[in-house]
């Protein structure tokens, strides 16, 4: 696993930490008998900060900078405990000695790694399910405002795709592919032990200690229905017992510029296109210059629009511990500006945790709070891209025009200047306040060793308030279009109560038993409202008092909402291991969900997994080359209740009407009730091998899994003749199978001060729709085809362009022309070779979107205080949909009506072009089959970050009181390789929009991600610093 690499460096800086601990710690006085002193060292020499304490006692001291300690009042028969993070704890009987020197041995990397598994932690070597982990430190190798960005390409089987390039947006996570057709495929996020109802942008990456991802059913079973799409456990930093207070400050500052501008035509190119765009047989161009257009103008509207963005992050924390308790405070601030003017995201987060033991009890509280402001999210680039480069935004006197009139369109002049000049005339802001709290009480049940009861309470609240104001005529070609304003509010609350009994004991040193029983209930309630108003009398009001609106005030029922849903669960899990060689985990869980129909609310399902640590068997124990070899196999079922509340009840849709000036609201049945709506199930088999070779210099994991999902919850479209549009039912099956490989290695291990580590992960998920509603093998409307992946597109397949002399053009394409797009024909032929029919709907093909495999790699070279690291992500195969090139964006109309993406188009002189003849046969406003122009091979390799850092020498720092100081600079998104799309356009090949966003016409299913006209992705240069004292 990738984070093996970091444990080493971590242990080093813990040493330095120890030094500080020492400085800050006071000796604890006690009643004396003897004093024991000595030196604690490891194979390299003395270690400062090692905790030395009496077994069963309260006393404890730490070693000083020279590794020396001295502990008073030690009874002669006492046992001293020497402990230090990253080392095997040693116990030594004093037996009257006054001088005890100890050499601690480092824990092997597998031994010391602890994995959060849900309702507990487990040593990595004992894990039998499929769990991928990454530490906060590793995560922060990719400095980012959002942990999803930092996770991309880091973990096998965890696909993270960009859904928007706007600041403050989160990425979409799919763990081992998508299972469900219409229900959510988002994994469950658990923040500090409690299911998290917010978004990733609410989590401050600076405060994350670790992210653990449960992938297979045997691992997620403990979360039951919530875990069907995988579970992401985010743990924030906590103090440690006995740890001296530590202050950290992390900061980075980035300068952002467009990775590449959208590749639009410049003036001369556009002039040539407009000239070439003639209807077949006609000589005059389709469009002639509009009033504000002139062939000698060459405006790059993007240059006029974008700015340089700034991103800045500050994170401060204090962590510490007392003898019986720990605490943590963290304050974070982030500001991220887009290169689109007036678009930015700001977040302040305040997190704290406290944990205190009182006798047999333990109490704790973790609170994660944040306040964020999102400005200008609605500011799009569509107008900037579509305005022609020959449209002159300036009047003769150099002032900006209000609008430019082009051949057929008129556009509001959208530049940095016009946006910045809007002042009070425009505002678009949303503010979110969220608080995620987890309180617990734990008690050791007296009389039974190892038995604990814990009550967890989670209380979450997220409120958001947003407003939008567009002044009179703003963005509108008509200067008198009335102003509009709207406000919306939402509040969602969520509570969780978990009662957990844990029994954890080791018998006869070899039998380890851990049993957890839990009963939990949770309920979420959300409520949102929206009000719109027209004709605000003064720009000063903006959206702050809609009551003054002179125009219509609208409360659209579709934008108001209330929903409440509850979930109750019983769960039991038993983990048993024998001699750390044979491990067995069994889980059973029963869930009841309010979202499902009466009588179908409850379901119980099992999971079991086993592991065999072959490396610990006698025949391998002494093998020099094999340090770890573990086989794992797991089977489990999970289920998914992810339908919207009230899906079983059916629904009336309202529609308004005016009888002259009398207004009325109508309603009709749009969704039928389904009194039999029940759970959706997934069954997973998981096989895994973990290994560590050559003194753990090469370690890795290989996994293979098959997940079958049945009774998929699906909105079923009824035929029109049923009189009702749809209902939600359990219909359909999907399968996901795939493999995952993670390797990490230390290539050079401290050779003359040089260290070189590298890690790589590959994974492949094959998704298949196994069955649909009875009898159906295809549902073209929804794009679902049995035997194909869930995400496909159903469209014609472009095989070239029709050329002069191609036989039967008009038979295939009545009304077609030379230079038009040639698509595959699948029909029959007459004896004379002509097609029996024209090309039509029957020729559409299923086009696969999913990549063949994807993954990432990271590497780090260090020499003394310097280090250079890089993180990359890649994918191979699949289809990228770019609506900039396809027909959905209206940016490749090839008619010369609006500006066009720069393409090599067919002309009689340029017949081997990729794109069709401008002005040729059209479908709507685009070239016929224009959507096929938007499909690209999605292969790419992207270097996400390259970081060069320097850790200041500890000895130098010592005098300043600083424990650790690191400076680094990072280039984000520096390079893209192997991408056809990048080669053609120079643009970033990563998706940036949901399938129905940032296009002129929403053309794809929302879940199919596309590359569209969103805020451009950026290439950032940042400098950062980490400071600890």
């Amino acid at each position: 696993m990738t984070n093996f690499l970091f444990i080493k460096s971590k242990s080093k800086h813990f040493k330095h930490l120890g030094f500080l601990l020492l400085l800050f710690m006071f000796s604890v006085g006690a009643h004396a008998q003897t004093t024991v002193s000595g030196i604690v060292s490891d194979s390299f020499g003395p270690i400062p900060g090692v905790n030395v304490s009496l077994k069963g006692g309260k006393n404890g001291v730490s070693t000083n900078i020279d590794g020396k300690y001295s502990i008073n009042n030690v009874p002669a028969n006492a046992v001293l405990v020497y402990s230090f993070v990253g080392f095997v704890t040693q116990e030594i009987a004093v037996k009257g000695q006054s001088q005890i020197n100890v050499t601690l041995s480092e824990e092997s990397s597998t031994l010391k790694e602890v994995v959060v598994i849900g309702y507990g932690t487990q040593r990595k070597e004992a894990v039998t399910g499929s769990v991928a982990s990454i530490s906060g430190t590793t995560l922060r190798d990719v400095p980012s405002s959002n942990i999803t960005q930092a996770l991309q390409g880091r973990l096998a089987g965890v696909e993270i795709a960009q859904t928007s390039t706007k600041p403050g947006t989160s990425m979409q996570i799919r763990i081992r592919g998508a299972r469900s057709l219409s229900a959510s495929n988002d994994p469950l996020v658990v923040l500090d032990g409690i299911p998290f109802s917010g978004t990733f942008s609410d989590i401050n990456p600076g405060d994350v200690k670790s992210v653990d991802i449960l992938k297979d059913a045997s691992a997620t079973a403990i979360y039951g229905s919530r875990g069907a799409n995988g579970v992401i456990l985010v743990t924030t930093n906590k103090g440690q017992k006995g740890q001296a207070a530590r202050f950290s400050y992390d900061h980075f500052y980035a300068v952002k510029s467009a990775f590449a501008q959208y590749d639009m035509m410049n003036g001369p190119e556009f002039v040539a296109l407009r000239k070439a765009a003639t209807a077949p047989g006609a000589s005059a161009p389709l469009f002639s210059n509009g009033p504000d257009e002139s062939n000698d103008v060459n405006i790059n509207w993007q240059d006029e629009f974008y700015r340089t963005g700034i991103e800045a992050s500050h994170n401060m924390s204090v962590l510490g511990g007392t003898e019986k308790g720990t605490y943590k405070f963290n304050l974070g601030y982030l500001k991220d500006e887009a290169i689109v003017p007036q678009q930015d995201f700001e977040r302040i987060s305040l997190n704290a945790s406290i944990d205190q033991e009182i006798g047999a009890f333990r109490f704790g509280l973790t609170t994660n709070n944040n306040f964020s402001i999102n400005n200008g999210a609605s500011m799009g680039v569509g107008t900037v891209l579509s305005t022609t480069p020959i449209a002159n935004p300036y009047n003769l006197d150099g002032t900006l025009k209000r609008t430019v009139k082009m051949a057929q369109d008129e556009a509001w002049v959208t530049t940095r200047e016009t946006i910045n000049n809007l002042g009070d005339k425009w505002k678009d802001q949303s503010q979110t306040m969220a608080s995620y709290n987890n309180i617990f009480m734990e008690v050791k049940i007296p009389g039974i060793e190892g038995l604990k009861y814990r009550l967890n309470g989670g209380l979450n609240i997220r409120m958001s308030n947003s407003g939008n104001y567009t002044g009179e005529g703003v963005f509108n070609i008509n200067p008198t279009t009335v102003s509009t304003a709207s406000i919306s509010n939402s509040i969602s609350k969520n509570w969780t109560a978990e009662n957990i009994l844990t029994y954890d004991r080791t018998f006869a040193q070899k039998h380890k038993i851990n049993v957890v029983g839990m009963f939990s209930s949770e309920q979420g309630t959300s409520n949102n409202s929206n009000i719109g108003a027209k004709n605000i009398p003064s720009d000063d009001f903006q959206y702050y008092n809609l009551g003054y609106a002179l125009g219509e005030i609208t409360i659209n029922p579709d934008w108001q909402g209330y929903s409440q849903s509850g979930l109750m669960s019983y769960m039991a899990r038993a983990m048993y291991s024998y001699d750390d060689r044979y491990m067995l985990t069994a889980t059973v869980r029963s869930d009841g969900s309010s979202r499902l129909a009466d009588g179908y609310e409850w379901h119980t399902y099992p999971a079991i997994s086993a592991g065999w640590n072959i490396g610990k068997e006698s025949f391998l124990r002494d093998n020099k080359y094999i340090n770890l070899l573990k086989l794992r196999v797991g089977y489990g079922q999970t289920s998914n209740q992810a339908v919207n509340p009230y899906s079983t009840l059916g629904r009336l849709t309202t529609r308004n009407y005016n009888f002259g000036d009398t207004y009325a609201v109508g309603s009709y049945v749009s969704t039928l009730p389904n009194p039999e709506l029940g759970w959706e199930f997934s069954t997973t088999m998981n096989y895994g091998i973990d290994f560590g070779l050559f003194n753990n210099r090469l370690s890795g994991t290989v996994e293979y899994y098959v997940t079958d999902t049945e009774d998929i919850l699906l909105g079923v479209g009824l035929p029109p003749t049923s009189g009702v549009g749809s209902y939600t039912a359990n219909i359909g099956q999907t399968q996901n199978k795939g493999y995952e490989i993670s390797l990490s290695g230390t290539i050079i291990d401290n050779l003359n001060g040089w260290t070189w580590d590298a890690g790589v992960n590959f994974y492949s998920n094959e998704n298949k729709l196994v069955a649909l509603a009875t009898g159906q093998t295809r549902d073209e409307g929804n794009g679902w085809f049995v035997g194909s992946p869930i995400n496909v597109i159903y469209d014609y397949e472009k095989i070239g362009l029709w050329q002069q002399g191609d036989a039967n053009l008009t038979k295939y394409e009545p009304g077609g022309n030379v230079g038009m797009i040639k698509v595959k024909y699948t029909g029959d032929f007459n004896p004379d070779g002509t097609p029996t029919r024209q090309i039509g709907a029957a020729d559409r093909q299923i086009i696969k979107l999913d990549p063949d495999f994807q993954g990432g790699f990271n590497t780090r070279v260090a020499y003394k205080g310097f280090d250079l690291s890089a993180v990359a992500a890649f994918q191979s195969g699949g289809t990228l949909i770019s609506t900039l090139y396809g027909s959905a964006g209206y940016l490749n109309m090839l008619t010369g009506r609006r500006n066009n993406i720069r393409v090599d188009y067919w002309t009689p002189e340029n017949t081997d072009a990729k794109y069709p003849r401008p002005g040729g046969i059209q479908s709507g406003d685009n070239p016929k089959y224009g959507s096929t122009l938007g499909y690209f091979d999605a292969t790419y390799l992207k270097i996400r970050t390259i970081t060069f850092g320097y850790n200041f020498d500890q000895k130098l720092l010592k005098t300043t009181g600083i424990d650790k100081l690191r400076l680094y600079c990072t280039a984000q998104n520096p390079f893209v390789f192997f991408s056809d799309y990048h080669k053609e356009s120079g643009m970033d090949p990563e998706t940036n929009s949901y399938g129905d966003e940032n296009q002129a016409v929403a053309s794809y299913n929302r879940r199919i991600l596309t590359l569209s006209a969103n805020t451009p992705s950026t290439r950032n240069f940042l400098i950062g610093l980490n400071l600890t004292f």
Partner: protein, 643 residues
């Protein structure tokens, strides 16, 4: 002390546990922000159901692709220069074809069944909650209205949506059986409309709600259509196959007579309805919702919420009223002295140009041959495009136009001439200085195009359906919004045509109500002028006598169809009229129009291939795909020749 503390804590913990454990009601659902179907059984729910029936008209009337399916391909229009496949397919002139996946022919099918179901729900539930039959009859009217549209378009259609014939369906059945045409008429249409005629009020309940007269018109039309179907003069096939025998034992003649009787009842007892004084007043925006309008899909400029679509920028989809954009050419291309002299304006002559459909030369030469006496040509088309650059902020007092002559705002920039001028028009090659390829005549300051000079790209606009707004002030207003005017569905005047057609088909007539006399009521009205629309001046004239004099002594079906086209041109009646009378092929098999580029003024004769199977439309593929039936059953469900 410590013990007490522990006890308290343990007690608290247990209490929490117990409370959590017993709190089973978190699994119960109580929606608070949505209506569930149970609401439909309340009085307010029934009223909501009725409102939604009027609303459903917006998904058909004003929906341009549906509109296209009823006009393109008839003798009223062909596709325009910017047409996409939806329009070319409907033209049947070789540029495309109508197949089961064609969108325009699927719109009706996918729109009306939910409304039929809602109507059945209202009819079933309304009695239980004490709703008056006069209200329930509105639901009956709409159920029959929808079935009438369906049966004319697709042949026989299912009366059972899953819960039994004409029953409110709440089952999730994905099986469907089509009834035959006579079953649909005799079970699904006539009984409902007869009840509606008997129970609906003479005056509308609210502006635009259906009256006894509305129900009479549709009952008369349904009788007429069914009578033609029974008679089947041109041997057009029906589907599902059935003998042309009326289950109620009547013959075509009986139904023609019924059609005549009911229509004449409507004329004689008009209630709150009737003809308005001039044809201009039927269609001018200031006079919307007049007494001649029996049914329309209403819109309003006063409320975006209740208008159902944007008041500033229409999306080009239902419930926008955007049909008027289709036959509007791109007049803002016009230039005078290099300035765009006619800009997009929310004005009835102008509006948003989509250039998807175009009237043929035949429309100007044949249908509207009389442009002088008959006010309907002037009351149908925009033939004069007038300068409005001043409204766009250009303060030029005049612009030089044709022949270099100045034109002031409001002056004619382009005129489509009534007939070929004696002096030939000098057309530019290509788009010319006026940028649309219009020509010049000596001494005229306006550019001109003659009837034979119109093309798929430049042609007179459809004034009738143009936008009308009162909130434009002195500017151009919001030309890009859908029209906020009501889209006409049925007019009182049609009663005369229905009665006349029934009379021509042999119905015994009443005194003073022969076919010719009925038609002459309409023609006489058409001869009355109060305003010269394209001349933009008041014009009081009564050419009724000349109009009547020009009426042929013997009225035949073709003449009625011609007259219908003059009266209802471009409103979406045409395909139904041609299909009912089985005259589609005869009257629409060829047309003339110029090409798709500016400056093209050479008429091209285009032939259409209209086959008998096409008198009914394909069952939409979406229906076929969504049913759970065997491939054979599915094949049998589709109309012949569309497989």
């Amino acid at each position: 002390m410590k013990l007490i503390q522990i006890k308290t804590i343990v007690a608290t913990a247990l209490l929490t546990f117990v409370l959590g454990g017993c709190n089973d009601n978190i699994l119960d659902e109580q929606p608070r922000s949505i209506y569930e179907p149970g609401y439909f059984k309340t009085e307010k729910g029934v009223q909501g159901g009725l409102t939604s029936m009027y609303n459903h008209l917006r998904n058909l009337y004003g929906q341009a692709y549906y509109y296209n399916s009823l006009i393109t391909g008839t003798d009223e229009a062909t596709y325009g220069a910017s047409a996409d496949g939806n329009f070319k397919d409907m033209d049947l002139s070789g540029a495309g074809s109508i197949i089961s996946t064609s969108y325009p022919t699927s719109i009706l099918w996918s729109t009306v069944f939910p409304n039929i179901n809602t109507a059945s729900g209202v009819i079933e539930n309304a009695g239980e909650v004490g709703i008056a039959e006069s209200l329930i009859s509105e639901a009956r009217f709409f159920r029959a209205f929808d079935y009438f549209l369906l049966v004319q378009t697709y042949g026989g259609v299912p009366l059972d949506l899953g819960a039994g014939e004409l029953k409110f369906n709440t089952s999730t059945s994905r099986f469907s059986v089509r009834n035959t045409v006579p079953e649909v008429y005799t079970k699904g249409i006539f009984p409902d409309l007869i009840k509606a005629v008997n129970n609906l009020p003479a005056a509308p309940r609210l502006t635009g709600t259906v009256t006894k007269t509305t129900a009479r018109l549709f009952l008369a039309k349904a009788y007429l259509t069914y009578a033609w179907w029974l008679q089947n003069p041109n041997n057009i096939p029906t589907y599902p196959e059935t003998t042309r025998v009326d289950p109620d034992g009547h013959d075509a003649a009986w139904y023609f007579q019924q059609a005549y009787n009911v229509a004449v009842d409507g004329i004689e007892s008009p209630g709150a309805n009737g003809l308005v004084a001039t044809y201009y007043d039927v269609n001018v925006g200031t006079n919307d919702r007049n007494k001649e309008m029996l049914l329309y899909a209403d819109h309003t400029e006063k409320s975006e919420v209740y208008n159902g679509s944007s008041l500033t920028y229409g999306s080009g989809g239902a419930p926008d009223n955007f049909s008027g954009w289709m036959m509007t050419w791109n007049y803002p291309d016009l230039k005078s002295s290099g300035v765009n002299s006619v800009q997009r304006e929310a004005e009835q002559h102008l509006g948003r140009p989509w250039v998807r459909m175009a009237p043929t030369i035949n429309v100007f030469e044949k249908t509207f041959a009389d442009k002088t006496n008959d006010s309907r040509y002037d009351g149908t088309f925009t033939t004069v495009y007038r300068g409005n650059w001043n409204k766009a902020g250009n303060t030029s007092a005049t612009l030089n136009n044709a022949n270099g002559l100045p034109v002031a705002p409001g002056g004619a920039i382009l005129t489509f001439l009534d007939s070929e001028p004696s002096t030939p028009i000098t057309y530019p090659s290509g788009s010319g200085a006026n940028n649309v390829g219009a020509g010049e005549l000596p001494g005229r300051s306006d550019y001109v195009i003659s009837p034979r000079g119109i093309s798929r790209i430049v042609y007179p606009g459809l004034w009738k359906l143009g936008p009308y707004r009162t909130d434009s002030g002195t500017g151009l207003g919001q030309p890009n919004a859908g029209s906020t005017r009501p889209f006409p569905v049925a007019k009182f005047s049609e009663l005369y045509f229905v009665a006349a057609e029934a009379a021509v088909k042999g119905a015994a007539t009443k005194a003073g109500k022969s076919a010719r006399e009925l038609i002459n009521v309409i023609r006489a009205r058409a001869g009355k002028w109060r305003f010269d629309n394209n001349g933009n001046v008041a014009k009081v004239a009564d050419n009724s006598a000349a109009m009547i004099a020009a009426t042929p002594a013997t009225i035949d079906v073709n003449y009625i169809l011609e007259e219908r086209s003059r009266e209802f041109y471009g409103e979406g009646y045409r395909w139904f009229d041609l299909v009912r009378t089985q005259k589609w092929e005869e009257l629409a098999s060829s047309y003339e129009i110029g090409g798709a580029s500016k400056g093209n003024h050479t008429p091209i004769k285009v032939n259409r291939t209209i086959l008998k199977y096409q008198y009914i439309r394909p069952i939409p593929q979406g229906q076929i795909d969504a049913m759970i039936m065997t491939p054979e059953e599915k094949k049998a469900y589709q109309n012949p020749s569309y497989n």
